[in-house]
């Protein structure tokens, strides 16, 4: 029976029967089973901690990039008010890239939050089941003959075992997801290190590799649109080209800031 119910319950059952076979005496089996359950609970706690760590890292990256977005926007406006379209464009290209990255980060943070919540709820549920098992095991130990105890242990252990197996599966999925996000977080850190999201004042001549890559990466239209919008806001859009500021002219243009 390779179906849905099949695969998982087979795994669970084989684990439980191995557990039950280990000891001759039912009360020994019970104690051993309980001990295994408590160990599993510890693993769950560790799994949840991993998810929280991954989430914190993404949140830190997100707030860093958010600051860059604000800074780049300001710089684009400054560049425009000095009639430096080229610098403004560069700042906006970086801003676009940073915003895209922000969106991805935010959706990943939400996803991890959901996972953390689910794991926490399930951990509490498992804790209660294990507590229930502990109570039952004392009753079984005290009241039943060895043969009958064996049957009842099997029933109780299967119930808890399934719960554990299911939580194990949830943890595995959470780990897989955290792992891919961790890889992504490292990639973003590399981008940061390469100066991709840096503000434009940190650029040397401004004609470097990064600039070229950025032009390839960002779609021109969004940047063009935003450039036009900013120009309109600043009231510089319709002005004829005037000499750039750093050439020493410095003539203030009418109406501009």
């Amino acid at each position: 029976m390779p179906g849905l119910g099949g695969r998982m319950s087979t795994v669970v059952k084989s684990k439980i029967s191995r557990m039950l076979d280990r000891a001759e005496d039912p009360s020994e089996t019970l104690d051993y089973g309980y001990q295994k359950q408590v160990e599993m609970l510890q693993n769950v706690k560790k799994g949840i901690a991993d998810v929280v760590t991954a989430k914190k890292r993404l949140q830190m990256q997100s707030s860093k990039i958010e600051q860059q977005v604000v800074k780049l926007d300001t710089q684009a406006r400054q560049a425009l008010s000095q009639n430096r379209d080229d610098l403004a464009r560069m700042a906006l290209e970086r801003k676009t890239l940073a915003q895209t990255e922000l969106q991805t980060l935010d959706s990943q943070i939400k996803e991890l939050e959901g996972q953390q919540e689910q794991l926490t709820t399930n951990e509490q549920k498992l804790r209660q089941k294990i507590e229930q098992f502990r109570t039952k095991k004392e009753v079984i130990k005290a009241q039943y003959s060895a043969a009958e105890a064996q049957v009842r242990i099997g029933e109780a252990a299967s119930g808890v075992g399934e719960e554990m197996a299911d939580l194990g599966l949830a943890m595995q999925r959470a780990e897989d997801k955290t792992e891919s996000m961790r890889a992504r977080a490292s990639a973003v850190e590399e981008l940061e290190a390469a100066g991709t999201f840096d503000d434009i004042t940190q650029l040397g001549g401004g004609q470097d590799d990064i600039e070229r890559q950025l032009q390839e990466l960002t779609s021109g239209t969004q940047v063009d649109d935003e450039l036009q919008k900013m120009k309109a806001e600043l009231g510089t859009g319709s002005e004829p080209d005037s000499p750039a500021l750093e050439q020493g002219e410095g003539t203030p243009k009418e109406g501009s800031a």
């Binding site: 029976m1 299967s158 119930g159």
Partner: protein, 92 residues
Amino acid sequence: MIVRVSGEGQFRLPDEDSDRINELDNRAVAAVEQGDETGFRELWSQMLEIVANDGNALDDDELVESDVILPPRDISFEEAQGEFTGEGLIPD
């Protein structure tokens, strides 16, 4: 019958639902085999709906095995291709 939705817990459903779930499961297996993700999603949400409408959550102190274990609600189509295979949920 007892149904577990992976990650969400166990539910007690009337035995009559067994046939309905099994039928939906068979169709889901077929959809997965044909690579029909939209069809699979539709069937999968119908299965979850049966559990939501007819199921009563088991108390946390009940220690019982499930008759059927459904995969996690947010199962990806890739994962489904590993789970929805062969005879289906309720073996003969």
